[in-house]
């Protein structure tokens, strides 16, 4: 059996006995067969020693058991890596950052504690998936919407603690949360916001409570184990409509995005909007360049040539699909208003999209893009072809046309400088996953091939550095790159990371919680890492 780092066999075996007493022996996993299920199914370290393998896993069913597990781990100084649903594929799956950590698997804590239709919120446990919460709401006939990321098998808690995103007005999942319950490294329970009032009546309605607002410190961190979280829901809107705006010239992207930004910041356009390029996508497909066609490399055709192809084939250089949610009259008026705003761009064209009223019929549900209406599904995996997984490089850039041009140029040049074709990477166009900025999503394929993965890891690291040189940083990252990414958030000699480390030492002096998460290491592991 693998031992946790810094723990001897006798202590580990004593601890395992105590874990079994706390949660029941069926819920402590130690055999290779069971523990291997916690490895990252999309590991960029396939067949390499660095591939993180846990020593064991423990799965409590309620918060009291979580407290006991954490206390035992603290006594024996056993590092534990917490997961909720553990479907963090593309960013590390269910695996810890460090081999030998035990996984604290909260999947069995799967109760929807409350869904309040009047105030439109939910309170859930960590093991509740988007599928579960959606089903619960449907079964009860409640008129509220959740927001789901592309894969519906993750959880509101796990996803939002990694600060993931979705598609409807509540797409910024961490921002949509209200109130947390957290078990600290010493086993103590803390409730944040109004939850600190023993008789709280507005835990899921007012976020801040009194005093410092600390919820953010439990996201992308290792300061506590979150056991409950509230989320704001969208009252089922009366209607929805979409419309696509298309422009012909390269430089038209600037006014296209400026107007998008205005419409989004004014809450006229809501939800995630992705900038697209029918022209570049067509070239990507016909040239076999794949997503690489979206970058500007020294070998790319000139803008004038591209515009000519666009004209000949009647393909817009850029477009974006706008989404409107609300009363039917209002969404129609909003689309009219958006068209008015965009009509200043010479040659702009508009295409009406879907116009819907809710609730949708069962048949309609089968034929709409489900994610746009908070309906969990796994359709997105279809874009992966017959591949063995991928990891995401996902920098945040400003929401402007100029920034998109710069990103195309900078990443294109970075590939040229490395002397590798960007062919394998799937570059997706910038999306407004989060308000006020764009995220650029680039999928790096994972292969069960050591050399390929090694090369891709090098490219990934280089892109992180190049992005940082231009003022762009990842919104989250795979466990394999957490140190690399934390390292570029280095303003004033890494003052922010030093602050995190100070907090870490104070709230988790034995360093048992998720060591290395987002580059935050406990004191005794900091030197070894450097």
């Amino acid at each position: 059996m693998r031992l946790p780092p810094g723990v001897n066999a006798k202590d580990f075996s004593d601890a395992l006995k105590q874990f079994s007493e706390a949660v029941g022996k069926d819920w402590v996993f130690t055999s290779d067969e069971d523990v291997n299920l916690y490895r990252d199914a999309y590991s960029p370290f396939w067949h390499e020693d660095e591939d993180p393998v846990p020593s064991a896993a423990v799965a409590p069913i309620n918060v009291e058991q979580v407290q006991q597990v954490v206390r035992i781990a603290n006594t024996f100084k056993i590092p534990i890596w917490t997961i909720s649903t553990g479907k963090n594929l593309g960013y590390g799956g269910a695996a810890p950052r460090l081999s030998g950590c035990m996984v604290l698997d909260l999947k069995r804590m799967d109760k929807v504690l409350e869904v309040n239709e009047k105030n439109a919120y939910a309170l859930v446990e960590p093991g509740v998936s988007y599928f579960d919460l959606y089903r619960y709401i449907q079964d009860k006939g409640l008129k509220v919407w959740i927001d789901t990321p592309d894969p519906g098998w993750g959880s509101p808690i796990g996803n939002s603690l990694d600060r993931g995103g979705g598609y409807t007005p509540f797409r910024d999942h961490f921002d949509a949360h209200c109130g947390m319950e957290v078990v600290l490294a010493n086993g103590e329970i803390v409730r944040t916001g109004m939850g600190a009032l023993p008789t709280a009546k507005t835990w899921q309605q007012y976020r801040y409570g009194f005093g410092p607002y600390i919820d953010g410190m439990f996201s992308q961190s290792n300061f506590g184990v979150v056991t409950k979280m509230g989320f704001w829901l969208l009252p089922q809107p009366e209607g929805y409509r979409s419309g696509t705006v298309s422009v012909a010239k390269h430089d038209d992207l600037v006014p296209l995005v400026d107007t998008l930004s205005y419409l989004m910041n004014s809450s006229i356009v809501q939800g995630t909007t992705t900038v697209g390029s029918p022209l570049l996508m067509s070239i990507a497909r016909s040239s076999g360049m794949g997503g690489a066609a979206l970058l500007t490399t020294p070998k790319s055709p000139s803008i004038a040539d591209l515009e000519k192809i666009g004209q000949e084939k009647n393909l817009p250089y850029w477009n974006c699909e706008l989404h409107f949610y609300g009363p039917s009259k209002v969404v129609d008026a909003q689309w009219e208003y958006a068209k008015e705003k965009y009509s200043v761009i010479p040659g702009v064209t508009f295409q009406d999209g879907q116009s819907l009223r809710f609730p949708l019929s069962a048949d309609q549900i089968e034929h709409v893009p489900k994610r746009q209406f908070g309906i969990p599904n796994l359709t997105v995996f279809g874009m992966m072809g017959r591949t063995e997984g991928h990891m995401w490089f996902s920098p945040i850039i400003p929401m402007s046309g100029e920034a998109v041009f710069e990103a195309q140029r900078v990443f294109g040049q970075a590939y040229a400088d490395m002397g590798v074709p960007p062919a394998e990477t799937t570059f997706v166009f910038p999306s407004s996953f989060f308000p006020r900025s764009f995220v650029v999503l680039c999928g790096f394929p994972i292969a069960h091939d050591v050399e390929k993965n090694r090369k891709n890891r090098q490219i990934f690291k280089r892109l992180v550095e190049v992005a940082a040189q231009h003022g762009w940083g990842e919104y989250r990252t795979h466990t394999a790159f957490m140190d690399t990414v934390a390292n570029v958030y280095s303003y004033n000699d890494h003052a922010l990371l030093h602050f995190h480390e100070t907090v870490k030492d104070a709230v988790d002096p034995n360093g048992i919680l998720s060591p290395g998460r987002c580059g935050i290491w406990p004191k005794h592991m900091r030197k070894a890492k450097a």
């Binding site: 819920w27 299920l37 199914a41 479907k87 359709t379 279809g382 017959r386």
Partner: protein
Amino acid sequence: MRYARIFLLVALSVAFAAQAFAAPDESQLDRGHRVYQKWCYPCHGPGADKPGTASLAARGQKPAVLEDRTDLTPAAIKIFVRHGVLYMPTFRKTEISDADLDAIAAYLTRNNKK
């Protein structure tokens, strides 16, 4: 490489599949159906938006929907679920217990020739 290993395991497992097969009672099939709907259907159900089905169809597998198959063995199904294949990940026992997996296997092999 992992793919090759899985096929080896599948081939081996066919040998003892017959004896592993015990006539499941109705509630076992119901349970299998329920767990399948929850964990497998979103990828393996019918329709172009189901990526597992699309992938199997692209490979030339007929029928491509797992529920319509009569050639899968319980042992093979279990190996795929616990080892994964392509981007289908492994499933942990907190997600699908061994008993749930037995039920899925019984459900997906319900129409096999006995």
